[in-house]
């Protein structure tokens, strides 16, 4: 049973770490890191089998952050899980830091694959799912995509492959905040209906509220019972979720909070008062 209250608190802590590290770095992607914080929390602190003390444990579940620009949410989850010391978060995007602007698996334990160029992660997740299945392991692979990201053609190549190879040990999640750098996804290049598209590609699809922890947990649980096809969770989210001044604002896609904005953000988020 999932401890929903614990997960909600943990998501808040992730958000606090995200805005803090971004403000210190002075650059980075605020909106998409915050919009996916609840999903990533549910994965790292509820669903996934993983061992921070043994990051290369072969039978672990895998997480591929295909939308690599949301690196801060992953770094926060890894630090809070104990993969590395939380103080490392202060080095984000600085010379010599293992916390690169986009995730680099060669420099940081817990990163499964380097990402950042959009559209490539789902193929990698498919390959991992195939490899784990060949080994007869029950391990599962999770892949988080951005909604703007699915404009990349390779995503649809991978959508075909996952279905063709019946990868029921694969679960992809779209962080559907409906905003990309140049504006609304529907205005830049309409991607709707995401659910119907994946259904047509042979996927099992769940539509959920990506900020409702009960719904996230339920969808992740149900996914494990689906056999013979991959699952796509279309998670409706709000870009910048958790901080009113960032919420739904396209300009916060790729900029970090200023000092003043950080103060507002920390106030709203409770500044780790209830630190887990």
């Amino acid at each position: 049973m999932a401890d929903i209250a614990y997960l909600k608190e943990m998501a808040k802590n992730l958000r606090i770490e995200i805005v803090k590290m971004l403000a210190l770095a002075g650059s980075g992607h605020t909106g998409g890191s915050l919009s996916s914080a609840d999903i990533v929390t549910a994965l790292y602190f509820y669903k996934m089998k993983h061992d921070p003390k043994n990051p290369n444990w072969h039978a672990r579940d895998r997480f591929v952050l295909s939308k690599g620009h949301a690196a801060p949410v992953l770094y926060a989850a890894l630090a809070m899980s104990g993969y590395f010391d939380k103080s490392l978060l202060n080095t984000l995007r600085k010379i010599g830091s293992p916390l690169q602007g986009h995730p680099c698996c060669k420099s940081l334990p817990g990163i499964e694959v380097s990402t950042g160029s959009l559209g490539q992660g789902l193929s990698v997740a498919n390959g991992m799912a195939l490899g784990l299945r060949l080994d007869g392991l029950p391990s599962r692979v999770y892949c988080l995509l951005g909604d703007g990201e699915i404009q990349e053609g390779q995503v649809w190549e991978a959508a075909m492959s996952a279905s063709h190879y019946k990868l029921d040990n694969l679960c992809a999640i779209v962080d559907h905040n409906n905003l990309q750098i140049d504006g609304c996804c529907s205005e830049v290049m309409d991607i709707s209906p995401i659910d119907e598209k994946f259904k047509a590609f042979g996927w099992n699809v769940f539509n959920i509220d990506g900020h409702n922890m009960e719904e996230i947990v339920k969808a992740l649980d149900e996914t494990e019972r689906i056999k013979g096809k991959p699952t796509m969770i279309v998670a409706k989210t709000i870009k910048g979720k958790g901080v009113s001044i960032f919420e739904g604002k396209v300009q916060y896609h790729g900029i970090a909070p200023t000092k003043e904005e950080l103060e507002i953000a920390l106030k709203e988020l409770g500044n780790g008062k209830n630190s887990v």
Partner: protein, 327 residues
């Protein structure tokens, strides 16, 4: 081929020695033998398995073969995922699609992650023949060579290909191997042992040394014979590994040469000729001529005719050398 297919063992790659054969055929045969020995070998193809010869592996190990359809980018990403779970994936398609269509996937996902993916592309170069320019990769070595962490190998014949495939399966890291469609003459001697980054010197000339790879090694050997008869002392070396370049051997040859000629079935920009020029100009400048396709697309036609049209022949090497010494 049938006989070799049945009897070729990893310990008996020597059976490929002395065989005139397309390097892609040697690849297909060797993959099957590798598959028998190592359960972690998996193979991916993008709807060209009969041409790349991975179909042989598919027939023997269907559960470890993944046809990705006509989607090279997805194939490379999937190969990376398999590699990151401990498999040793060999991903094959034509050289132009492997390196051109999926270049960024190779850069970002494979090399930046140091994923243990072996990209073995066939139909490199002009000898693709009748299919014409769209299918003739003349820039693939340049594209692969520019990526940090990538190893680039262009074997000369069947024997070297077999050894190379076994060798790279035992090496951890991304590798690009470029193979050909056309049947090529056997060039490498029985005692030859392929090693990544190690050139093979057939002989050293006092006047000219030809640095070649792929099918141009056999042309270089023919050219050397002709030049030696005409009193121009000529040597030949097989630089099958373009990256990492065997700088030590190159320097040794340069010091003994009045002229270095590079010869490759690739654009003169960025391939073996480019790599040699970069190294020598900074370390030991010596007169250099690059033989290859001169910054142009290919065209349709019989592959043997195409080699003549684009100057990828022993005769052209001879002419270039003689022209130099005429001055």
């Amino acid at each position: 081929m049938g006989k070799i297919q049945c009897s070729c063992d990893l310990m008996e790659l020597t059976e490929l020695c002395g065989k005139d054969m397309a390097t892609r055929d040697a690849y297909g045969i060797t993959l099957v033998e590798l598959g028998k020995k190592n359960q972690n070998i998996v193979v991916l193809d993008a709807d060209l398995s009969c041409s790349t010869k991975t179909a042989l592996f598919r027939k023997n190990f269907p559960e470890r073969f993944f046809n990705m359809g006509v989607s090279e980018q997805d194939m490379i990403g999937t190969a990376a995922g398999l590699a990151l779970t401990g498999k040793i994936p060999f991903a094959s398609t034509f050289a132009i699609f492997a390196t051109g269509r999926a270049w960024e996937q190779i850069r970002q996902t494979v090399c930046y992650s140091n994923a243990n993916v072996k990209i073995v592309a066939t139909h490199g170069g002009i000898t693709v023949g009748e299919d014409g320019a769209t299918h003739q990769a003349l820039e693939d070595v340049a594209l692969m060579r520019a990526i940090p962490g990538m190893t680039v190998i262009v074997p000369a014949d069947a024997y070297e290909t077999g050894q190379c495939i076994v060798n790279i399966s035992e090496y951890y890291g991304p590798v690009y191997v470029r193979l050909g469609r056309a049947k090529v003459p056997a060039t490498m001697p029985l005692e030859y042992k392929f090693r990544i980054g190690k050139a093979y010197i057939f002989n050293i000339g006092k006047d000219v040394n030809i640095i070649a790879n792929g099918l141009m090694v056999s042309e270089a050997l023919k050219a050397a014979e002709l030049l030696n008869k005409e009193g121009i002392d000529t040597g030949v070396a097989n630089f099958s590994t373009v990256k990492p370049l065997d700088e030590e051997t190159l320097l040794e040859l340069a010091k003994k040469s009045k002229l270095i000629i590079t010869a490759e079935e690739h654009s003169i920009i960025g391939g073996l000729g480019g790599a040699v020029a970069e190294f020598l100009s900074e370390n030991y400048p010596v007169p250099l001529r690059r033989i290859g396709v001169k910054d142009t697309f290919g065209c349709s036609g019989d592959w043997k005719e195409l080699l003549k049209i684009y100057g990828l022949t022993a005769q052209n090497i001879v002419e270039v050398a003689k022209e130099f010494f005429k001055k």
